[in-house]
Symmetry: C2
Subunit: 240 residues, 2 copies
């Protein structure tokens, strides 16, 4: 009987390609509208079409990529409707989790969150680093209430939101404001004040969302218009 758990250290090729592409899309290294040729990507990444294609299918399920049969695959524009959906879902999940906080918080997790916040407030914080810490903070709050796995769903749904947020951070009032909100949330959580925690969390998430609207007014070309917006093949890469 082979009960080999097989926590393979080596990821499959597909996994590696998927993670690479997803990262490049979320960081805007592959901006909205970019053409993604399976052949080109395969050649560039040194693999065959198969893992590339399977990764694109997964990304299209997440809504980060659009695949048009016999035409091409493209990085999705930021769809305001999907951004709003992600915002709603995230708010619903994170607020609900605050109501399931245990009476006794896990001290290790609390310490980890405090440490996280301390690093967020460093004056010379790098924006990418702040983004990673922000992710870890919200994930940690979910773990605190025993709903760590719900984070996976939130992450999958909020790809569009992340891209917009990442843009917003670049000219935001600076991450300091958000870090302050994080501190406020954690304080309420530690004091067991669920109502206050919910209020602070809601205000925080809404502030993030308003950031998105602001950036949309400034860079409308990254957002999808009303139409289906079928991009032309290699004409005008829309960027750079």
């Amino acid at each position: 009987m082979g009960l080999v758990v097989r926590a393979d250290g080596k990821k499959s090729n597909r996994r590696a390609v998927y993670e690479t592409l997803r990262r490049k899309v979320l960081t805007m290294e592959l901006p909205p509208g970019s053409a993604l040729s399976e052949n080109e990507l395969a050649a560039a990444l040194g693999v065959s079409r198969t893992p590339v294609r399977e990764s694109l299918i997964l990304l299209s399920e997440e809504g980060l990529v659009q695949v048009f049969p016999q035409v091409g695959s493209f990085v999705s524009r930021v769809d305001p409707q999907k951004v709003a959906d992600a915002q709603f879902l995230r708010e619903a999940v994170e607020l609900a989790s605050l109501e399931d906080l245990p009476a006794e918080l896990d001290p290790d997790l609390v310490a980890e969150l405090e440490d996280n916040l301390a690093r967020q407030r460093r004056p010379d914080i790098d924006r990418e680093e702040f983004f990673a810490l922000d992710e870890a903070f919200h994930h940690g709050l979910l773990r605190l209430s025993g709903h760590a796995d719900a984070w996976t769903t939130v992450v999958a749904a909020k790809g569009h939101l992340d891209r917009a947020r990442r843009l917003g951070l670049y000219d935001a009032p600076s991450p300091v404001e958000f870090a302050g909100q994080h501190v406020e949330i954690l304080r309420a959580v530690r004091e067991g004040d669920t109502a206050l925690a919910r209020q602070a969390m809601r205000a925080h998430l809404r502030a993030v969302f308003e950031d998105v609207e602001r950036i949309r007014a400034r860079s409308p070309e990254l957002f999808s218009s009303n139409s289906a917006s079928l991009p032309t093949r290699r004409n005008v890469v829309v960027w750079e």
Copy 2:
């Protein structure tokens, strides 16, 4: 400029295979633990491995299928943890949506929901039909508050919950009880009593969840135990 929207009537081969497999898993036609050979499925469905394989990848992302490299693919057992996660997510989303109901409800949608409930209460209701109506009812409530698209995420996450629910319905106190709860929810929604609607919805979803626990006590073999539970290849199909 080709603005062809292309709402292709003919689905791709992969889409068809995916939908077929997902339906068979959710209806227990392919019970938990079943071996899913890419070659066998391809031959049975009259296609090549490619669309089958791509479908299995998508199903594994949903958690409905487990793929073990070089070993085999199997229908996932119902994981109580994932069932609980889906329950939490569903509750969070559906309760949150109740708070976003507009002052003036869409009369067409309300009529549709009332009609749905009327059919749910038919005495000779078939269980499969009730299940479909139940899905449509909850989806309709989300549409009422403008969060129709969140349903997609809920659906994707609650596959495990659905399988357990489908089992539960077979010896439930009868769908009549659930139908009554639906009536109660809709009445509160129509009266604009958000608090009451939330309370009724929560009670309803919790009742569904308890159903799952009950069925688990009766058919533990369909649920995953603590271990990784690597199923043997074709020994003991575990069913039939």
